[in-house]
């Protein structure tokens, strides 16, 4: 009689015949469309793209492959940054730019939000405003600058006007669409629970559209960063755009590049902060 222990390993028992079978090759998961990858891989790939840019940049500049007038070395940029901050008061310029973006954008949001909500809610308001606003939106903001200068001069209000016009019309239209997309079932449910036509704006439409409105705010604020530089390139006494245009006159390429990088970083910080705030405030919209 067989020992029960060895009997278990007997290949005639179906369970243990696996080693005789051929294995099928697994598909490589990262070549599968839309397949998730690990966080670690994601992060390292993201970082490596920055490193690659830095490597290529260093490679062509330190070897003098490219004239430093066109593209300075990373070291030059760092030196410029130090000079800008310590000797040329760059921090004041950054603050000036930031405050222009925020004041101009806030004005656009304060007027644009209620108007967008009304357009998205009431067809009569939509019929009146929507065509005009759509029309104006396609006019390039930068083309308005000469007019603004003519109308309101070259002082601060002109800079704010550029930001305002650049963001207001897009804000209104995008908010209107977001509000118009609030699920009809929610409105109907609210009516059968005794909501009134106006009460429903506060109790259903606004809360339902709020996460989307925050996303729109984030997006349009990103565009506002690009308009401010356009505004500051012309007749500005301060600001990052002013520094860039001054550096152009003195052929300080490294200052220009550093200015651009700073704008990018500021925009990115705004974006990330707004993203985190939205997720925290409207967690009900983003899963558990």
């Amino acid at each position: 009689m067989q020992d029960p222990k060895t009997a278990v390993n007997d290949a005639s028992i179906p369970m243990y015949q696996e080693q005789n079978k051929k294995e099928t090759k697994r598909r490589i998961s990262w070549l599968q469309p839309q397949k998730a990858i690990s966080k670690k891989l994601y992060l390292s790939l993201s970082i490596s793209s920055f490193i690659l840019i830095l490597l290529v940049w260093s490679g062509i500049t330190y070897t003098h492959l490219v004239d430093p007038l066109f593209l300075p070395t990373p070291t030059d940029i760092i030196n410029s940054a130090v000079t800008l901050f310590t000797e040329l008061g760059f921090a004041t310029d950054i603050l000036a730019t930031i405050s222009r973006v925020f004041v101009g954008f806030l004005l656009a949001l304060i007027i644009g939000l209620p108007l967008g909500v009304l357009i998205g809610t009431f067809k009569v308001v939509e019929a009146f405003f929507e065509p005009v606003i759509s029309f104006v939106r396609y006019m390039p903001v930068s083309a308005f600058i000469p007019l603004f200068i003519l109308w309101i001069g070259v002082e601060e209000p002109e800079k704010l006007a550029v930001i305002f016009v650049g963001s207001f019309f897009s804000l209104v239209l995008m908010i209107a669409v977001e509000v118009g997309n609030v699920r009809k079932e929610l409105l109907e449910a609210a009516y059968t629970l005794g909501s009134t036509n106006f009460g429903i704006i506060k109790s259903v439409i606004l809360p339902a559209a709020m996460p989307g409105i925050m996303e729109i705010t984030r997006l349009v604020l990103g565009w506002a960063w690009t308009y401010i530089i356009v505004a500051e390139l012309i007749a500005a006494p301060s600001g990052i755009g002013h520094v860039i245009i001054e550096s152009q006159r003195m052929i300080r390429t490294s200052n220009i590049i550093f200015g651009i990088i700073v704008i990018g970083i500021l925009g990115l910080i705004c974006d990330v902060v707004l993203k985190i705030v939205t997720r925290k405030l409207f967690s009900w919209n983003y899963g558990r």
Binding site: A189, A190, W284
Partner: protein, 262 residues
């Protein structure tokens, strides 16, 4: 006895390139405490009928009365439960249930008492502070029912509320709703295309024809209460089911024929 709701010569025409008659001259009364199920093939206009009773759509002609009062537009006296996606996702379960009470201007403490009792009634104790996206489909519909009931409406209108649920959950929800009706003696109008569901729940089944929707048969269901799922294997139940299945089948075939002729 006076009917609770009177539906009188209701017609609905959808205007377009060619006008479509969706609902054709419907008449019936709903008595106090009745549980009426409306059974019809898909596209027969049964949801349209319910939405007209709820005031969410307007009839082309005809009248609907609650008691002696003609109904125009939606109001909190007719609670509604939709097929899905009607909970307010930014409100917790208890705030969802309190929504109508808040509209009435009720104090917070009183609202809380009522929502607590309805959360208990639908078996969701412990989920008060959860958000809708944390719940399964069946649980969401429990909340929707509780929300409609908490407002204490004159009539409860349900538009295929269990249509999107799997069959096990559906059965449990049917028993839950029936249990609530037996306890609270509400007046209910319930739309479904599921023959078994219509018989199991209804004290009266109205069968609708395919488009344009008319009432084809008005059948009282005299199965005793309280009912449990066992009643579904009762010979009387099966007889009614065979009969209604045949009726619905005829109508569905007609609908398909019409579709093919186009």
């Amino acid at each position: 006895m006076k009917p609770k709701v009177t539906i009188q010569n209701i017609q609905k025409v959808y205007k377009g390139k060619t006008d479509v008659l969706a609902v054709d001259t419907i008449n019936f009364d709903i008595m106090e405490n009745e549980f009426i199920t409306i059974l019809g093939p898909s596209g027969c206009g049964k949801s349209t009928l319910l939405r007209m009773v709820g005031g969410l759509e307007e009839q082309t002609s005809g009248h609907i009365y609650l008691g002696d009062q003609e109904l125009v537009g939606p109001s909190s006296n007719r609670g509604m439960v939709f097929q899905a996606y009607s909970l307010f996702p930014w409100l917790t379960i208890e705030k969802n249930i309190q929504f109508g009470l808040k509209n009435k201007g009720m104090k917070e403490a009183d609202r809380k008492d009522i929502s607590d009792s309805y959360i208990e009634l639908v078996g969701l104790k412990g989920f008060e502070k959860h958000y809708p996206n944390q719940l399964s489909g069946g649980m969401k519909q429990r909340v929707a029912i509780a929300r409609a009931l908490a407002n204490d409406p004159e009539i409860l209108l349900l538009d295929e509320p269990f249509g999107a649920l799997d069959s096990q959950t559906r059965l449990i929800m049917q028993e839950l709703l029936l249990n609530i009706w037996e306890k609270k003696k509400k007046t209910i109008l319930f739309i479904t295309h599921d023959v078994e569901e219509a018989i199991f729940l209804g004290s009266r089944v109205l069968v609708m024809t395919s488009r344009p929707g008319k009432i084809k048969e008005d059948m009282p269901i005299e199965l005793p209460h309280p009912r449990t799922y066992h009643v579904k294997s009762d010979p009387t139940f099966i007889k009614i089911k065979d009969h209604l299945t045949e009726l619905i089948r005829e109508e569905s075939l007609k609908a398909i024929e019409l579709e093919v002729q186009k």
